[in-house]
């Protein structure tokens, strides 16, 4: 439970921080999936 002097971290900051690492990771995952698809199509 939050006390009066506790300021919770902004959800926007948490979202931005996760986007910062999530976007490059999603790019890498997508590129790898495309590459891995060659196993079926290659």
């Amino acid at each position: 439970m939050s006390t009066a002097d506790e300021t919770p971290t902004s959800p926007l900051l948490i979202t931005l921080a996760w986007l910062l690492v999530g976007v490059p990771l999603a790019y890498g995952l997508w590129q790898t999936l495309v590459r891995a698809s060659a196993l079926v199509n290659g």
């Binding site: 939050s2 006390t3 002097d5 506790e6 300021t7 919770p8 971290t9 900051l13 948490i14 921080a17 996760w18 910062l20 690492v21 490059p24 990771l25 790019y27 890498g28 995952l29 590129q31 790898t32 999936l33 590459r35 891995a36 698809s37 060659a38 196993l39 079926v40 199509n41 290659g42």
Partner: protein, 464 residues
């Protein structure tokens, strides 16, 4: 007090612990680039007009330096806190690329060894362990999940770095087409790519360093409330390395990594060789590349999935699975892997997911055995097992394969001695894991233990 000190980065009340995993990921996604070093291999061989072995040493030096620096600097990382460690790691990793770039631009291979291998390798070691103990302290209820998220980033870093590096080399050398077999980028393009990556990774890691905080009450280790391990264990790094448990876990990690590297190192040629008949393989080079992609995904997802699972089923049973099921799957791969590509890929993917899981679960195993007092420093010392396995794994596989035939002419049966050797390696790790028992209280830091008990009692009294 500097803004880098541990005391300066104590989280204010209300600071969300969900900002710590992205901070850790910013570092691990950056240093995970090392697993994608092979994208430069052909271009570096052409640029320096040297052998694959000479270029291969760059990666080997980096991994050995990772293990050594994590072991030697683990205590410094623990005492200095995650921000100072992440900054040091960012400087070393970025400098490694810059010095490496200078080596490529001037044709001095030794500068690449020194830059990427030695300086960059130190950045790898510091960066790898920098967020681990902080994550365990923020997530005492789910240490496997927390460290799994970060160490997943180390696997994910290669997934980003490989296409990014190819894009950069194409940008700086329009004649370079990454999809063409044997394509090489010019030395100038390589040097520019290294420089660009150095800048990108340094900035990315600095964002992680800015975001990271230690939990309230953890600004000073001597007054912090630690989470004890089994039976109340709080053990210092110097005592931990004198315990049976530490060395048994060292053997466990060594065996798990050695067995995983056996497949990873040889993945693309291995799948082609397994389905070779009358001199030609049913698996194309593109499909073999796809197999490497599948293994990368298995490696990354295993780090998160299995490590998170370990919070529910316990660390020892999780390693029983990695080593026991891994052993059976390795055996099936050796005996029946050539029956069908689907069976081969499925078995190899599970084995590699256990390889990744082994890395990600080990910090939580250490926390269970030794408590959080100096878990980062103990983890650093344990990573020497990785460095040793990085040498032993390829030596075993390449040594055995060299003795039975020549690359390009191998078939499934030629792999059996190497795979069966790995079954033996996994069996050793399996037994070592079974022998791990809780640490005896003779190794506990009794002063730290008593002070910790007092702090816990005070806190419980205050919240009553």
């Amino acid at each position: 007090m500097s803004v880098l000190d541990k005391q300066a980065i104590v989280a204010r009340p209300g600071y969300s612990r969900w900002l710590i995993p992205p901070a850790a990921l910013a570092v691990h996604l950056s240093i995970g680039q090392v697993y994608a070093f092979s994208v430069f291999k052909n271009s570096l061989v052409a640029s320096f007009d040297t052998s694959l072995t000479a270029i291969g040493w760059v990666f080997s030096i980096a991994i050995v330096m990772l293990g050594l620096s994590a072991a030697v600097l683990g205590t410094w990382v623990e005492r200095s806190g995650p921000r100072k460690a992440m900054l040091a790691s960012a400087i070393c990793w970025g400098t490694g690329f810059v010095v490496g770039s200078a080596g490529i631009a001037t044709g001095q291979l030794w500068l690449l060894y020194l830059g990427y291998g030695v300086i960059g390798g130190i950045g790898l070691g510091i960066g790898y362990i920098s967020p681990v103990s902080t994550l365990i302290k923020w997530f005492p209820d789910r240490p496997g999940l927390a460290t799994g998220m970060a160490i997943m980033g180390f696997g994910g870093g290669a997934l980003i770095a490989s296409p990014l590096s190819n894009r950069l080399m194409s940008l700086y050398d329009p004649d370079f087409v990454a999809t063409e077999p044997g394509a090489v980028a010019s030395g100038t393009a390589l040097a520019q790519t290294f420089l660009t990556l150095g800048v990108i990774y340094t900035l990315f890691m600095l964002i992680g360093a800015a975001l990271v905080r230690v939990p309230p009450g953890h600004g000073d280790d001597s007054t912090a409330e630690h989470s004890p391990g089994t039976n109340g264990a709080l053990v210092r790094a110097s005592s931990a390395i004198r315990t049976r448990q530490f060395w048994l876990l060292w053997v466990v990690l060594f065996c798990n990594v050695t067995a995983g590297i056996g497949i990873l190192e040889q993945a693309a040629p291995m799948i082609q060789d397994f389905f070779r008949e009358d001199g030609s393989s049913a698996i194309t080079a593109a499909a073999a590349g796809g197999f490497v992609g599948v293994l990368s995904l298995a490696n990354m997802s295993g780090r998160f999935v299995w490590s998170s699972l370990s919070d529910r089923i316990g660390r020892k049973p999780t390693y029983v699975m990695y080593l026991g099921v891994g052993l059976v799957f390795y055996l099936l791969l050796a005996l029946f892997g050539s029956a069908s590509p689907v069976i081969f890929v499925a078995l190899a993917a599970v084995i590699i997911s256990f390889y990744g899981g082994g890395f990600a679960t080990v910090p939580a195993y250490l926390k269970d055995l030794f408590g959080t007092l100096e878990v980062g420093a103990i983890h650093g010392r344990l990573l020497t097992a990785w460095a040793a396995a990085g040498v032993a794994g390829p030596l075993i596989v390449n040594g055995i394969l060299d003795s039975v035939g020549e690359p390009g002419n191998l078939v499934a049966a030629d792999y059996r001695p190497a795979l069966l050797t790995m079954v033996g390696v996994l069996a050793v790790g399996f037994v070592a894991n079974l022998l791990i028992k809780p640490v005896s209280d003779t190794h506990f830091d009794h002063d730290a233990h008593a002070a910790n008990e007092e702090r816990v009692a005070d806190r419980q009294e205050a919240t009553r």
